[in-house]
């Protein structure tokens, strides 16, 4: 029995990924799953967690602790028999709070690599929400990739300072296009629309967003919560659950992150490029190449 507590709406991509993974596990008959979303940052998180812990006593509670860090940790301490598995920028807490995060900097790096190759102007635009570490490391990895492909690449980053304002995101992207960007990385919704309108390539984020604009979205870093979920289910079922940092399960090696399928772009991109990409992917998977982690705000 699994519960999930999301601070934002499940339409928000970060929580959406967790939600989808848990739904899939439920569909597969592995768990029964309930959730609460739009809990916000105003103190409801702690209440919901306590209520759920008291009433339903689920085996596992998933969720995101950003903005509710203390509340989550307080509750977790009070219910040691429940596994708390939360997205967080901090470490795990004994005995029962495990943390995960969207460690998709690796595919972000790969995306950057591709973007740097695809850009003719050498200018690439990134539109992101807030400069928080989770976002920064993805953007920074993307920049590393882009500059590896083209040492002179100029990567412009705009923060729209909102998790949801697609109109502003689109406008930010158009501003970057006017500033010379010819490839865009859409950390937030709204950017792909701009790329589509301008006939440029774009990279999605968090999930495979090719469906939004098949000719526009080349690929993008994708986060998979399934490995984390599966691992936790196994641990809890086996009674071996302990508090831990589940970082690895959100990385490429364990299938927690990937580059979105190219959806036919394999054919339109140069064969060299595709090959280079695949070999670099392989290096990451085998641990031959480590993508640097940098959580400072870009620039």
């Amino acid at each position: 029995k699994v519960f999930a507590a999301y601070a934002t709406a499940i339409e928000e991509p970060w929580d959406g990924v967790i939600h989808q993974a848990l739904l899939a596990a439920q569909e597969a008959g592995q768990i029964s799953y309930d959730f609460s979303d739009e809990i916000g940052y105003s103190g409801d998180m702690e209440r919901i967690l306590r209520e759920v812990a008291d009433e339903q006593a689920p085996a596992v509670i998933f969720g995101d602790a950003f903005g509710n860090e203390e509340a989550v940790r307080r509750v977790a301490k009070d219910y040691p028999e429940i596994a708390f598995v939360f997205g967080s920028g901090l470490g795990p807490s004994e005995p029962n709070l495990s943390v995960f995060d969207n460690w998709i900097h690796e595919p972000a790096y790969l995306s950057g690599l591709l973007a740097g190759n695809l850009s003719k102007s050498g200018t690439i635009g990134v539109v992101a929400g807030y400069p928080v570490p989770e976002v920064n490391r993805i953007v920074n990895a993307f920049i590393v990739g882009a500059q590896e492909a083209n040492a002179d690449a100029d990567v412009k980053v705009t923060f729209i300072n909102s998790w949801f304002d697609p109109a502003a995101a689109k406008e930010a992207a158009l501003a970057q296009v006017d500033a010379g960007a010819d490839v865009l990385f859409a950390e937030r919704f709204g950017v792909i629309e701009a790329a589509q309108e301008k006939g440029l390539y774009a990279f999605g984020s968090m999930s495979d967003q090719n469906g939004l604009a098949p000719d526009t979205v080349v690929t993008g870093p994708v986060w998979h919560m399934e490995p984390t979920v599966q691992y936790i289910i196994k641990q809890v079922a086996g009674g071996t659950y302990t508090a831990q940092d589940l970082k690895d399960f959100s990385m490429m090696a364990k299938g927690g992150a990937s580059l979105a399928p190219l959806h036919g772009f394999e054919t339109s991109l140069s064969a060299d490029l595709v090959e280079m990409l695949q070999s670099r992917e392989q290096e990451i998977l085998t641990g031959l190449y480590r993508v640097p982690i940098n959580e400072e705000a870009p620039k």
Binding site: D15, Q20, S162, P166, E171, D178, F189, E193, Q209, L212
Partner: protein, 304 residues
């Protein structure tokens, strides 16, 4: 130069929904009603427009649905504030809360919390004027933007040079005089709400059917509140409301464009600027601000 031209183009894109909403609010306030329901009205209109466009495959049907939603919500505002005579602030805030709640509630029910925003196959295309000239980047806009621009003189003219405008202003200035002159004060106010509601619906449609062709949370993100500030900024005159919306759009566009140029900015200061300017204008105009004299006052025929 290119920077300026592109900046102006972006300004127009950003200012369109705000201008439309502010023009709608102008009409409604000129008739004596402060409609704080505007933020929710825009969101629900954007949503209903999107849903209908997606289900029917017709953008025009979607557009109609958005207009209709705007109209219905404003008529509802009329029911509360004109017919029942309830406190306009509270009624308006109630409508914003209700309409936003309904939009997000239905969004969840219909789209089941999909984590990529549902989008349309096709959204409204842009229409380029002055093709091939330096002005083209400014005037590559969605049709709704041109409509909004045309509406500025049209509404100014409507208010000042038509019987509709005369009547509308009269119920906002002195409803009793309008009543005695044989006008149906309620009906005139409802007419203002209907036209204003259509404009708010159009503002919502611009976001979901033209600019993005998609619907998500945070679509409106405070643009309705901005519109209310701009109406005051514009002294209840369409032409000045236009300048207010332009200023807001410009600051917002400038902020994004300077960021794209890599120039770091206290963006919050720029975003807060229109609000602060409005307050300063109010303070300067003080008691001379030309509020419609009957704003906020429900009309009741005495002794009836």
């Amino acid at each position: 130069m290119d920077f300026v031209i592109a900046l102006l183009g972006a300004t127009l894109r950003i200012f369109t929904p705000i201008l439309l909403a502010a023009l709608g609010e102008t009409l409604i306030e000129r008739a004596g009603i402060l409609n704080l329901g505007i933020e929710g009205t825009m969101l629900l209109s954007a949503f209903s427009g999107f849903v209908v466009a997606q289900l029917s495959g017709s953008l025009w049907l979607g557009l109609s649905a958005a207009l209709l939603t705007g109209i219905l919500l404003c008529v509802f505002m009329g029911l509360l504030s004109v017919t029942l005579g309830l406190n306009q602030h509270v009624a308006g805030l109630g409508i914003t809360l209700l309409a936003s709640g309904l939009a997000l509630f239905s969004f969840r029910i219909l789209y089941g919390g999909s984590s990529t925003p549902p989008s349309l196959e096709r959204s409204f295309a842009q229409l380029a004027l002055f093709k091939g000239t330096a002005l083209e980047p400014i005037f590559s806009q969605y049709g709704i933007t041109y409509i909004a621009l045309l509406l500025v003189p049209i509404l100014g003219w409507l208010l000042m040079h038509t019987s509709f405008g005369l009547r509308l202003r009269s119920v906002g200035e002195n409803p009793e005089a309008a009543d005695i002159a044989g006008l149906n004060v309620y009906w005139v106010r409802y007419q203002a709400l209907i036209v204003g509601g259509a404009l708010m619906g159009l503002a919502g449609a611009y976001l979901s059917l033209a600019q993005l062709g998609a619907f998500t949370h945070g679509m409106v993100n405070g643009r309705g509140w901005v519109a209310i500030a701009i109406v005051i900024f514009g002294n209840w005159q369409p032409s000045k409301v236009f300048y207010g919306a332009l200023l807001f759009g410009f600051l917002q566009a400038l902020q994004l464009r300077l960021q794209a140029q890599g120039i770091p900015l206290p963006y919050e200061a720029l975003l807060a600027l229109p609000y602060i300017i409005t307050i300063i204008i109010l303070a300067l105009a003080g008691r001379n601000a030309s509020y419609p004299a009957a704003l906020l006052k429900a009309y009741r025929r005495e002794g009836a």
